[in-house]
Point group: C2
Chain length 239, copies 2
DNA sequence: CGCTCTCTTGAACTAGGTCAAATCCGGTGG
DNA sequence: CCACCGGATTTGACCTAGTTCAAGAGAGCG
């Protein structure tokens, strides 16, 4: 159940078997959610965290004019709202982009962890800082990169993040999102995203079709996006 | 020395006198830095954190074409690189925008805090999550808001954040940045920022002149930007 | 088989960028 | 007190990346 989370953490630090057990046993419940189900609603007091076990989710905010901006995509192994533990409620909502399986961890257990297990606490803190690092990279993308670099950058990011949990390789990965979903990550319109996908495929860089991302030339993709994976901190260290 | 940090934290949770003392005594050194000094360099292993005591700093990334994107502005009371504790090195650099005074806190002391002071640990965790919430709001701004709404939103954000540490009121605040600095926060050119400032002043909403931000109509400003301060979590709760 | 959601494509439009040339203005040296 | 310097601001003319609107074409599914 927590395999992917463990893969994610163990790519960054050692996690003992005993620690793994504590994490495992902090789960109070397993649930499934349907596509478009709002798993966490902005502004509502929370008493538990949600670990994404299977599927894809996103954090997003809606604007008055009906537009939506996604601020992070979540893949299996991610806690989608671990930050609700220190924050107590969220500034954004979380939505299932496909049918998902989730594990629930009550805040109570996390609280106890901060008292009894400093190393686990630091690992969870680390996990939330990884989200923040991803946010920062998106700020850079949205602020300064062209639409095409922005898109390729996101696809490269997902390759690394999914790779860590064994869901991507050098050739690509499955990504069951719509083009509109991607456009909402990238601060652009679905129409424009579609055109860009066309040119990327024509240039034999990446393609996104039938819910699958295929890299035809990873090197060139990374060059176009100026992508370097350092902001994802895939490096084993004492945290 | 840590007055502003305490104001910032105490606006969100209780901090006992004893805890304040522990924070205080975790400082190993006080320094000043000059304008444009790079206080933390991306990718370098770090062993200490930097608390901004006086002045303004920013987190930023440079791109290959020489452009720069600022991902967060820092005001007195902010730890500019507390996330270096879990991350061990940063994905971005930190720069002094004006002459600043900083306090240094060795990672060692923070580590000890995670072992002996769970509540303080949670407060520091909270502080880093506040940065992440700000990043998310910037993602929304950069992705979906017009240049004018984006600018006004940032000015509103700073009013709240500076207000918490007693450096802003309803009329405005001092902001010793250049228009170019602001433009680099907002993912736009200095030229465009300048034009926008003109229309905002003409419309008697906000002005930014002589290093001072003046709100002529806070209500209208917030409406233009769709600004609500909830993402800044200025609310006293048990964290 | 028909429905609905997603993807594509074209044509016209606009927010914001680019480039370049003033102008302003605080600080310095004389 | 004044002239000068260099960065910061301001303005104009033109340009383009990405948007908007609208209409078809697929394509999965009950």
């Amino acid at each position: 159940m927590i395999d992917q989370m463990l893969m994610k953490l163990r790519a960054r630090d050692d996690v003992s078997e005993q620690e793994a057990l504590i994490l495992q046993s902090s789960i109070s419940e397993i649930r499934t959610v349907v596509t478009d189900e709002v798993v966490v609603r902005a502004g509502v007091d929370l008493t538990k965290c949600t670990l994404l076990v299977q599927g894809f989710m996103c954090r997003y905010k809606d604007l008055a004019n009906g537009e939506r901006q996604i601020s992070e995509l979540h893949v299996p192994g991610d806690f989608v709202d671990l930050h609700s533990f220190p924050l107590k409620k969220l500034d954004h909502s979380v939505l299932a982009l496909v049918p998902c399986k989730i594990a629930i961890v009550p805040h109570e257990r996390v609280l106890q962890m901060t008292r009894d297990h400093p190393h686990l606490t630091r690992l969870l803190w680390f996990a939330t800082m990884l989200d923040a690092a991803i946010h920062r990279e998106w700020v850079v993308s949205l602020g300064r990169r062209t639409a095409i670099a922005r898109l390729v950058h996101l696809l490269c990011e997902l390759q690394v993040r999914l790779g860590v949990v064994g869901m991507a390789d050098a050739t690509g990965y499955d990504l069951p999102l719509t083009q509109q979903d991607l456009a909402e990550c990238l601060g652009m319109t679905g129409v424009h995203l579609n055109r860009i996908l066309g040119t990327l495929k024509a240039d034999a860089v990446v393609s996104f079709q039938g819910r699958r991302v295929r890299f035809h030339d990873v090197e060139r993709a990374r060059a176009i996006a100026e992508f370097t994976p350092d902001y994802l901190f895939v490096e084993k260290r004492q945290r």
